[in-house]
Symmetry: C2
Subunit: 205 residues, 2 copies
């Protein structure tokens, strides 16, 4: 199967397909259709068929998709068949909640390193993981070969920390700080800002 570049917007929908399919599997289901998947997700079945067809032939006309097989294929495409070790920088209220979130591991991610600047926090643990001093973050991340990081520091510190994450070899940053950060073209950033999401809705109220 040739791995031609697929539009980002298509790749962006695959995690939603994966999430819904895993849920169906947990419900004991074995086969589904693009129609059913579309209804669950509020996406048209034609769109789903078109998206999936970019990566190969996953279903047979008339018999639908084998859920376990499609889950496996989507995990492979998204590169979450194995677990990514993730660095979390900033363990204030928000970072602490992120560190406690139980939903990462079975979806491909494990928080493997915690960093904070607060001397009162450094050396303490969350879920048996020690909080390390952000001062030693660059060599620590480099040594462990981490490629993915989550940023839960205040907005004013985000760019500085992001620069050092890039220096440490991080290639994907999930930014919880309510600000935009600049990174080199080979590094990816996604944002979690609940207020942006809320404001995207209030316009219509």
């Amino acid at each position: 199967m040739p791995e031609a570049p697929v539009p980002e917007i298509v790749v962006g929908r695959l995690p939603l397909y994966l999430r819904a399919l895993v849920q169906m599997g947990l419900e004991g289901r074995q086969v589904t259709s693009s129609q059913e998947l579309g209804e669950r997700l509020g996406i048209s079945s034609a769109q789903i068929r078109k998206d999936l067809s970019q990566f190969g032939e996953f279903g047979k006309q008339g018999t639908g998709y084998n859920i376990a097989f499609l889950v496996e294929q989507l995990k492979r495409i998204l590169k979450v068949e194995t677990i990514w070790d993730v660095a979390l920088v900033g363990v204030g209220d928000l970072g602490r909640a992120v560190a406690h979130y139980a939903g990462f591991l079975d979806r491909g991610f494990r928080i493997a390193a915690l960093f904070d600047t607060d001397p009162a926090k450094v050396g303490t643990q969350i879920n048996n993981l020690p909080i390390e001093d952000t001062a030693g973050m660059v060599p620590a991340i480099r040594q462990r070969g981490l490629k993915v990081a989550m940023l839960a520091v205040p907005a004013r510190d985000a760019q500085g920390v992001a620069d050092r994450l890039v220096e440490a070899g991080i290639q994907a940053i999930l930014c919880y700080a309510p600000t935009s950060i600049s990174v080199p073209a080979n590094v990816r950033v996604q944002y979690i800002d609940p207020v942006v999401r809320l404001q995207q809705m209030t316009h219509y109220l």
Copy 2:
């Protein structure tokens, strides 16, 4: 100024413009350009000019945008000149972190009601706000006329709670539960799922 329907993707970028402009204002700046704004956000200046032009004339050729004026206009367009009272359903680890998040109020939102099913939590307070029993949620929300809610319940409970939020008159739901929910066409939903965001990046690593 005619309020013609503007594409959702354009409306979706306005909160980012607003956030960056507010930040510039806090830095003591008074004027900016689509170029500078674009660099901060990783969006082309042409895109920014085109987006803003859909809502009126906010800048003069050659003199750029007055930041305070544009902030005011964007707040008006996004309907966050005043504060929306928001219901938060589910105060587990995540909901509690959301309730403690200090970044809502100065961006247009105030958590005004907390709900949970756990008898051990009902009656206790977070930030002087009592946690109410989800059993009484529908009349409580209706009585207070709340239109916006945040959902921080487990995935398996999300649809049931969403149905009751809609029944209560909620028109915008920010869903932190890692699942898709179905709502009537007149209700808006946005999702916060960090794993989806992470998986959108790992494909490229």
